[in-house]
């Protein structure tokens, strides 16, 4: 789910940047440092604006200036139980991996309806129910998140398609 979120971050600036455009530099550095990163439970998708940049404080020892910047950002946090659409990126006998934006989701074969079976002979390998449902690399799927785990710099999740209205989406190409 997407949120607009007010956050705060300390940005340090090298002395050589001190000057009248310091705030621009601070903002630029903030964008560079923060945008697109994952902080524990959510991804920071985009920074809307910075609405408060504190006065700089010189850090003793190295002369860097530290600014406390408060900014507003669009963040995306996947929730357990949330249903999201994702694109399959790899398929193996244990299940398949899908990606929803930056989030990697693993759908175990236990969490795939029993009629959709692993078909190793197909090229490319796929999960298939022998009819029109095929889950292969590139398939768009609708997945319910069963669990989410945070790693350093990324999130990843396991999902299920073992419920109504989940699974491969019809490709309207």
């Amino acid at each position: 789910m997407f949120f607009l979120y007010n956050m705060e971050r300390r940005v340090t600036l090298h002395p050589s940047y001190f000057g009248k455009n310091m705030h621009e530099l601070v903002t630029g550095k903030l964008l560079k440092d923060v945008e697109g990163t994952c902080t524990g439970s959510y991804y920071i998708i985009s920074i809307m604006d910075t609405f408060d940049i504190s006065e700089g404080r010189i850090l003793p020892g190295n002369g860097l200036a530290e600014f406390t910047v408060r900014y507003r950002a669009v963040v995306w946090r996947p929730f357990k139980g949330e249903t999201i659409d994702a694109v399959v990126v790899s398929v193996n006998v244990h299940g398949f991996f899908a990606e929803a934006g930056p989030l990697r989701i693993f759908v175990s074969s236990y969490l795939i309806p029993s009629d959709i079976k692993w078909d190793p002979n197909a090229t490319p390998p796929a999960f298939s129910d022998g009819d029109e449902t095929r889950i292969e690399v590139g398939t768009h799927t609708r997945i319910k998140l069963m669990g989410i785990r945070a790693e350093v710099g990324e999130l990843w999740a396991i999902g299920s398609i073992k419920e109504d209205y989940l699974g491969a989406l019809e490709q309207e190409s």
Partner: protein
């Protein structure tokens, strides 16, 4: 079946037939019917048998049958009912009765044609109703029925045989227990518990010694005797007997008998085996009586579970697997791995020592655990071994070996049943003895044996648990407290939600949900793996591990909810990504840690699984390790490098060992993202090929983001230094003398110049020679006087022209009319030699000119004369302030300087940027704040010259400042001087007076400048 029994048969059998009438009482009248009807039949039957006394055989068979069936009848009322249902096909009640009886008694007899015939002959009439063969109508039916019933019986017998005794017993117990409970419960429900306690009026209980291990047998025989004597005149006076034996009981070797008088006991136990009533009987205190009957949970051994041996000493502590438990529950048949030395240690069996005693067996290290080997055994003891190679069952030295395991009946008290905690290694040994290796591990039995031992430790407050056994089955809650075997839980689901209940751990299991993040604890071989639950079936949980993204199945009891960021633990002193020495030439980086082993990626890029014992030592992480990459740049741990060629992997250096780097990349999961490279095969990832400093502060490229550059957006990078030769060299056409070399002292005129040299046409001789510019002294063409400091002669007061102006060299462009020459010819300062140097030229200039430090400094610093003239030019410009001195200093000076210092480093850039900084201030801003150390160095190396230069500019500065003020004073006069030739003397005097003051001197210069601007043209003429 002897005679006397035959006589007794009536009553006895009557009793036997329904030994527990009370039990049967809930059977409806039908049963009673049966009895009644059977009674006359029985009365007849013995009569009949007695009549036919000749055929004892028949009789016996009958009896046997009867016994059998009776026994079964006791057991199987279900079967009765079955029969009845079958019988109902025949519809006729009486006949059914008969058939039933047939089934009981006469099947064998009927099969036996002879007997049957006899029966028919002899008893057809008077036995009417017993076997109705007389009725010809029904004969067919009967024959068919008999056949069927006969088969039925056979089938049932077969079934009975199939039933093992245990199951039979269990069924029996269940049924009877159930029956007895109902009335019993009703009674106790009404009477308070304490009133049920024994009092003095109740019979006493005595403990009677018996043979250890035979307690149960004794009780059984007492029971039998009681039954036998029941109803007779010598009925036993005892009211109860029980035993509390068992492997771990303190009451073993005793049975307890309840009776009013001691003599009753003696009487009852008279002549019974294994019990010793003649020894002292122990009277049990009334208070202790209830304790005697307290139920104690005895550990149950199930086939397949694991135990440890206490004795024999050789096997103490060894793991064994229970194959079977004997019926009395005292011994267990276990199998374990033998420790055999196959007679390697004893020289002669039964050898005697010198003092005649049997030699004690050599004590020492016990032989290792090894499966029995027939070959080994045959080597030394061919005689002691018997067995069958096909079944792989052997007897050797009195022990039995199956499939290599030693199989033995061992008393349960010699087994450790609790807290066995078999490790996977031990269990694997057993499994590998099986046909298909590891597959043979029975996870269920392992779980069973682990259950008792570790359940209480595995529950921790906060665990979500579920009751799966007992009355509270299905209750789910969260554990709040664990004390011993009792878990206090807050119920969260179901009817009891909100309550706090206490439950024993026995019926508990942990409950997880799909998607939970869990860690494997406990005895599984996946211990310490962390993963997410994918599916759950009963108590088996499938989870997807974080490390390897593989699916593993473990018991829920071995799981705990993990924090979201679970890290792989350490194995002993080793941790993930440690660098370890495998052998003197091989090192490796740990990429996976298991419970007992680890996977190491060695320097050759191979992974191997090693045990901690195979590791020579752990190499400490050297933060300061440095190596050179393929470009020669230095690389250190934590640098980001990219593999050159190959897979072009890019990663952060974890370790540098000799010529190998171990890098970590996030791009792949293989080997935990670690790959190894030769140092010479990686290149540093960096924009400039320089070293990436690890400090975040200096990490960004300062040049690209330097705000100073942004302040001056028009400046496009480094402007090249001004062309060395633009315009005409002022030297050309000048009269010079040569001050060095073979032509020293000669006068000449400069014809043309290069950067460094001048071609001088000698006056003395019609010859043009090439002389370094530095060796020339410029002289006044008219007076022949030396013009000192020629290069720097363009003074600060020379404000006007800009480099881009039309007259870049106004001084010389003017030719003869240049202010200098003009001035010199015109002004007294130049004309009067005494005052000239000091007066005509400002002290500043003289100082600058006389400042020996300046020129040599430049010369020394530059090492080349080439630059010098420019330097002069530049400084002159700088003095003029028209051109930014920054250009001159920034563009030129650092370059030669840094060359002179021989370090071509990014510092150069720093120097340049600094030049920018300094540009705004002083031309030679050596003291200007320089952010980079290198820049500072280059500048500091420059400092003497620079400072000299700055001195040089110090001089003009006051001039510049001073110029306006005096200049104003003279602004008016100057044109006057120009225009009015006469009062030259006055002027001269004026000048002469003013000349000594520096201000005047300077103002003169500015006057010159202004005169320039005013009307140079007139001056020329």
């Amino acid at each position: 079946m002897s005679g006397p029994r035959d006589h007794e048969v009536d009553s006895d059998e009557e009793e036997d037939f329904n030994p527990a009438p009370a039990d049967m009482s809930d059977d409806e009248g039908q049963n009673g019917d049966n009895d009644e009807e059977e009674a006359p039949r029985r009365k007849a039957s013995p009569g009949h048998t007695r009549n036919g006394a000749d055929d004892d055989e028949d009789d016996e068979e009958e009896e046997d049958d009867q016994d059998d069936v009776n026994a079964r009848n006791d057991d199987d009322d279900e079967e009765d009912e079955d029969e009845e249902e079958e019988d109902e096909i025949q519809g006729h009640r009486r006949k059914r009765r008969k058939d039933r009886r047939n089934a009981f008694f006469d099947i064998e007899a009927e099969v036996d044609d002879e007997d049957e015939g006899e029966d028919d002959e002899e008893g057809a009439e008077d036995q009417e109703g017993f076997i109705e063969h007389g009725d010809p109508e029904e004969a067919d039916f009967a024959a068919r029925d008999d056949e069927r019933i006969h088969q039925d019986l056979d089938r049932r017998r077969q079934q009975d045989a199939d039933f093992d005794a245990e199951r039979m017993a269990r069924e029996l117990q269940q049924r009877h227990a159930h029956r007895r409970r109902a009335p019993g419960m009703g009674e106790t429900g009404a009477v308070p518990q304490r009133l049920l306690l024994p009092s003095v009026d109740d019979p006493s209980i005595w403990g009677v010694r018996c043979k250890e291990g035979k307690e149960r047998e004794v009780i059984f025989s007492i029971m039998k005797r009681v039954q036998e004597k029941m109803g007779t005149k010598d009925e036993l006076g005892i009211t109860a007997a029980f035993e509390r034996g068992g492997p771990n009981s303190v009451m073993k070797g005793l049975i307890y008998v309840e009776a009013q008088r001691q003599t009753d006991i003696l009487q009852a136990l008279e002549g019974m085996l294994n019990v010793y009533p003649r020894t002292k009987l122990l009277l049990v205190d009334i208070k202790e009586m209830p304790d005697l009957l307290r139920v104690q949970k005895t550990p149950t051994l199930e086939p397949g579970s694991w135990v440890r041996l206490k004795r024999p000493n050789k096997y103490a502590g060894d793991l064994a697997q229970v194959l079977d438990v004997t019926e009395n529950g005292l011994e267990a048949r276990v199998r374990y791995i033998p420790r055999l030395d196959y007679g390697m240690r004893d020289e002669h069996p039964g050898a005697m020592t010198a003092d005649g005693k049997r030699k004690r067996p050599v004590t020492g290290a016990r032989p290792p655990q090894k499966l029995f080997s027939e070959v080994e055994a045959r080597k030394r003891h061919p005689r002691y071994i018997t067995g069958n190679p096909n079944t792989n069952v052997w007897q050797y030295n009195g022990d039995e070996f199956e499939q290599g395991f030693l199989v033995k009946d061992i008393k349960i008290q010699l087994l450790v049943v609790k807290d066995v905690n078999p490790t996977l290694e031990e269990v694997t040994k057993f499994a590998s003895g099986g046909d298909d290796g590891v597959e043979n591990i029975d996870l269920k039995s392992l779980a069973a044996s682990l259950k008792d031992s570790s359940t209480n430790v595995t529950y921790l407050p906060g665990d979500v648990i579920e009751v799966y056994e007992g009355e509270q089955k299905g209750v789910v809650g969260r554990a709040t407290n664990v004390q011993g075997d009792i878990v206090t839980m807050d119920v969260t689901e179901g009817d009891l939600a909100g309550q706090t209940i206490e439950v024993p751990t026995k019926g508990l299991r942990k409950r997880f949900k799909t998607g939970d993040h869990v860690k494997v604890i406990g005895g599984s071989r996946y211990r310490d793996e962390v993963g997410m639950v994918v599916s759950i079936s009963e108590d088996r949980v499938t989870l997807l591990t974080d490390q390897t993204t593989t699916e593993i199945i473990v018991f829920s009891k071995d799981l705990r909810e993990a924090s979201d960021l679970g890290g792989q633990g350490a194995l002993g002193q080793y941790e993930m990504l440690d660098l370890v020495q495998l052998d003197p030439t091989t090192v490796g980086c740990i990429v996976k840690l298991d419970r007992e082993s680890m996977v190491v990626l060695d320097q050759n890029g191979d992974t191997r699984q090693v045990m901690p014992s195979q590791i020579a030592n752990k190499l400490p992480r050297r933060k300061l390790a440095v190596a050179a990459d393929r470009n020669g740049s230095e690389i250190r741990p934590d640098d980001v490098v990219k593999e050159y060629g190959g897979m072009s992997r890019q990663g952060k250096i974890v370790h540098i060992h000799r010529t190998y780097v171990f890098c970590h990349t996030n791009a792949t999961n293989e080997n935990a993202g670690i790959f190894v490279c030769k140092v010479s095969n990686v290149s540093t990832i960096s924009a400039k090929g320089g070293r990436v400093t690890s400090s975040i502060a200096s990490g960004p490229d300062l040049n690209s983001m330097n705000p100073m550059k942004k302040l001056n957006p028009n400046a496009k990078g480094d402007m090249p230094p001004p062309k060395a030769t633009f315009g005409r060299d002022r030297l050309v056409g000048q009269t010079v003398t040569i001050k060095k070399g073979g032509w020293k002292g000669l006068l000449g005129r400069v014809k043309e110049t290069t950067d460094t040299h001048a071609r001088v046409e000698l006056h003395t001789k019609s010859k043009i020679i090439n002389v370094p510019k530095a060796d020339l002294v410029v002289r006044d063409g008219v007076s022949g006087r030396e013009i000192k400091n020629y290069e720097n002669r363009r003074p600060g007061g020379f404000l006007g022209p800009r480099p881009g102006s039309d007259r870049p060299n106004p001084e010389w462009n003017g030719g003869s009319r240049t202010p200098m020459t003009n001035a010199s010819s015109r002004t007294p300062a130049w004309k009067t030699p005494t005052q000239g140097p000091n007066g005509g030229r400002t002290p500043a200039w003289s100082r600058a000119g006389g400042d020996g430090g300046r020129t040599p400094a430049w010369a020394g610093a530059d090492g080349s004369r080439t630059v010098n003239p420019y330097d002069g030019n530049r400084t002159a410009y700088g003095g003029a302030g028209s051109r930014t001195p920054a250009w001159s200093s920034g563009a030129k000076t650092p370059a030669p300087d840094s060359f002179g210092h021989g370090s071509k480093t990014p510092a150069y850039g720093g120097g340049v940027s600094d030049a920018w900084g300094s540009g705004s201030k002083t031309p030679y801003g050596a003291s200007a704040p320089t952010p980079t150390a290198n820049g500072g160095d280059s500048w500091s190396g420059y400092t003497p010259g620079a400072s000299g230069g700055s001195h040089a500019y110090d001089a003009p500065t006051p001039g510049m400042l001073g110029a306006p003020t005096p200049g104003l004073n003279y602004t008016a006069p100057t044109p006057a001087a120009m225009n009015a030739p006469t009062p030259s003397a006055q002027w001269q005097g004026g000048w002469g007076a003013d000349a000594p003051t520096p201000a005047a001197g300077v103002s003169q210069l500015s006057a010159l400048a202004s005169s320039f601007s005013v009307g140079p043209g007139s001056k020329v003429s």
